[in-house]
Symmetry: C2
């Protein structure tokens, strides 16, 4: 039975990426060896790494000061090493608190310096994106989370910052056009729109580094990874390969403009159903709704399990909401086809007719 | 043409592991989804993780105080977080310096406390394993590298330590029986005998933790990963799956005793050729020779490129020695069949006849 994968991450990828990656695990490009047994320093793998880097540069419109790194450890490691590399003990970093992941980033930064939370929607369970705030010109940097996977909110406009702007784009990178050169740092765990788990994309402006007084352990220092071209130690070669394939697919499909168009259409169809169906309510303020993670609750809580089962019976996997929000969450990343939305919308309609 | 993969890591894995992993990338166990698109918290993946953990516990004969973790970042991240978690500023840790990786571990430990190098073979370019040394009873822990991938040396007997014993087993774990319960910590990047790149096995005694005064960033604290069962953040699900398959294969083949028997036979055949062939010389003291990485030089340096080409023509990939040793290195991990050794030995004999 056909499954529609609404998991929030690791998440759905294009079918052709699965096919190509599967083939490479048996044998990479007729070299007589598997992708997963060759050296990360072999010419075959270095060519994969170079291609992945070039796609990132092209798609994000980066400038020459911006270095593209493939690291391990996920966004959670970045929460710690961003202040480790950039924030002296007596200095202050500004953070916008829009969800659990932003909170986690704030918690780690406090171990290294001062944190000023410029705005927060915590008192409304993060159901909107704060817009009226001032970023102090004395802050070392300003950190934002562009999409909040758990709550289903998303920045529809990027802020203008008087200080270096750092964005955690884990759950919406490559889903819409972004002028990467406007950022001083961008990072993203790969396992949503970019590939599978095991690699973290980091774009960092080299001119930002080397300014803190503390000693940084070698592997936690961005300069190590810049100097070694992401090959300081063995990276997750498979995950980088899958990212390269996915980025290649994005370009082939028409790039980020095409991704945005499809993502808008899919999200609008689902939000329209939520807004017009008497059984469901959207969680997030309309202007801040995510095009990636669509969160909604059921107006008759006694039907929650029954709806979850109906969706499951129709092949929709992974729509249970995060425990801190409840209800449902449909993650509809780049690779989710419109067909998946249609199936879910169909289940919602049918369920409302039967139980409305 | 059949290739024999002598890379030092990522490295050769059993053919059936490639086949099973390739299939799972298309679809995992008939669940209608790919291994690489499902949530790390899905019941399907949690079952993979549990099986991998159980294999580690069984194969290494661990006791109940020993926690099995699957982390990211490789041994290089462990070099930093071991002292971060275990060594106060005024305390001393003992290290045995047997190669480049040990040196790197020592360098990072010095950022956190004092280091006493109890013995070193650095002045002989690490061509032997020091055996006469005293580990001070006041040291916080004693750190060893059981196999030195670059130089091709290996501890044939594990030291008895008066303080907690920590072993980097990256390049020989699961190649021979080890009584894991004698260690306080064992760690290993997966990409040699255990699987492919993207996951690091950490076995840590819980009673060792929580004793340093400094604040540890959440993701660098072993207690975080113990508490969250290696699911604090998204792990590299694919690499954990490949490790699970490889560990399953090791058990099926007869466990670590069977691995050791095969590895001894393969290594002896290759070392016998090196010792009897007038063209080649082994790099490492005979009693310390690694069963995993066989290093040798050619006695007529003018033939170095010609021999490299002859090996390549016979399908032997990755035998160039590390630049700090020169010559050749044949990495012959668990999955290297005797046939690969025979082919390489054949090339050496034929080359000696032509050029001896």
């Amino acid at each position: 039975m056909k499954k529609y994968n609404f998991y929030s991450g690791p998440a759905i990828l294009p079918q052709e990426v699965f096919e190509q990656a599967s083939k490479a695990v048996l044998e990479l490009d007729n070299i007589g060896m598997s992708l997963i047994e060759i050296s990360h320093r072999s010419k075959e793998f270095v060519s994969v790494l170079d291609e992945a880097k070039q796609h990132v540069k092209d798609l994000l419109q980066l400038d020459d000061d911006q270095q593209v790194l493939f690291m391990q450890g996920g966004a959670s490691l970045q929460f710690c090493i961003i202040p480790y590399n950039l924030l002296n003990e007596h200095e202050t970093a500004a953070y916008l608190e829009t969800g659990v992941w932003a909170k986690k980033a704030i918690k780690e930064a406090k171990l290294f310096g001062n944190v000023q939370v410029v705005a927060s929607s915590a008192d409304k369970n993060f159901n909107f994106i704060p817009k009226e705030y001032v970023v102090p010109g004395t802050a070392k940097y300003f950190h934002i989370t562009t999409n909040n996977t758990i709550y289903g909110s998303q920045l529809q406009e990027m802020p203008v910052s008087p200080v270096p702007l750092i964005a955690d784009m884990s759950s919406d990178i490559f889903s819409r056009p972004v002028t990467g050169s406007k950022f001083d740092m961008i990072y993203a765990g790969a396992q949503k729109n970019m590939g599978t788990a095991g690699v973290t994309l980091v774009v960092v402006r080299e001119s930002l580094l080397g300014k803190v007084k503390r000693q940084i352990p070698t592997i936690l220092d961005y300069r190590t990874h810049i100097k070694e071209g992401s090959l300081f130690n063995t990276p997750c070669t498979f995950a980088i390969y899958v990212s390269m394939l996915t980025l290649r697919w994005i370009k082939k499909m028409g790039g980020l403009e095409a991704m945005q168009k499809m993502n808008e259409e899919k999200a609008m169809k689902l939000y329209n159903e939520i807004d017009s169906n008497p059984l469901f309510t959207g969680v997030i303020a309309k202007e801040d709704r995510s095009r990636m993670n669509v969160t909604f609750t059921i107006n008759k809580p006694e039907f929650e399990d029954a709806f979850a089962n109906a969706a499951k019976d129709a092949g929709c996997v992974g729509i249970k909401g995060h425990r801190s929000v409840g209800g449902f969450r449909a993650s509809i990343y780049n690779a989710m086809p419109m067909e998946g939305i249609d199936v879910l919308v169909g289940v919602m309609r049918e369920f409302a007719v039967k139980n409305g």
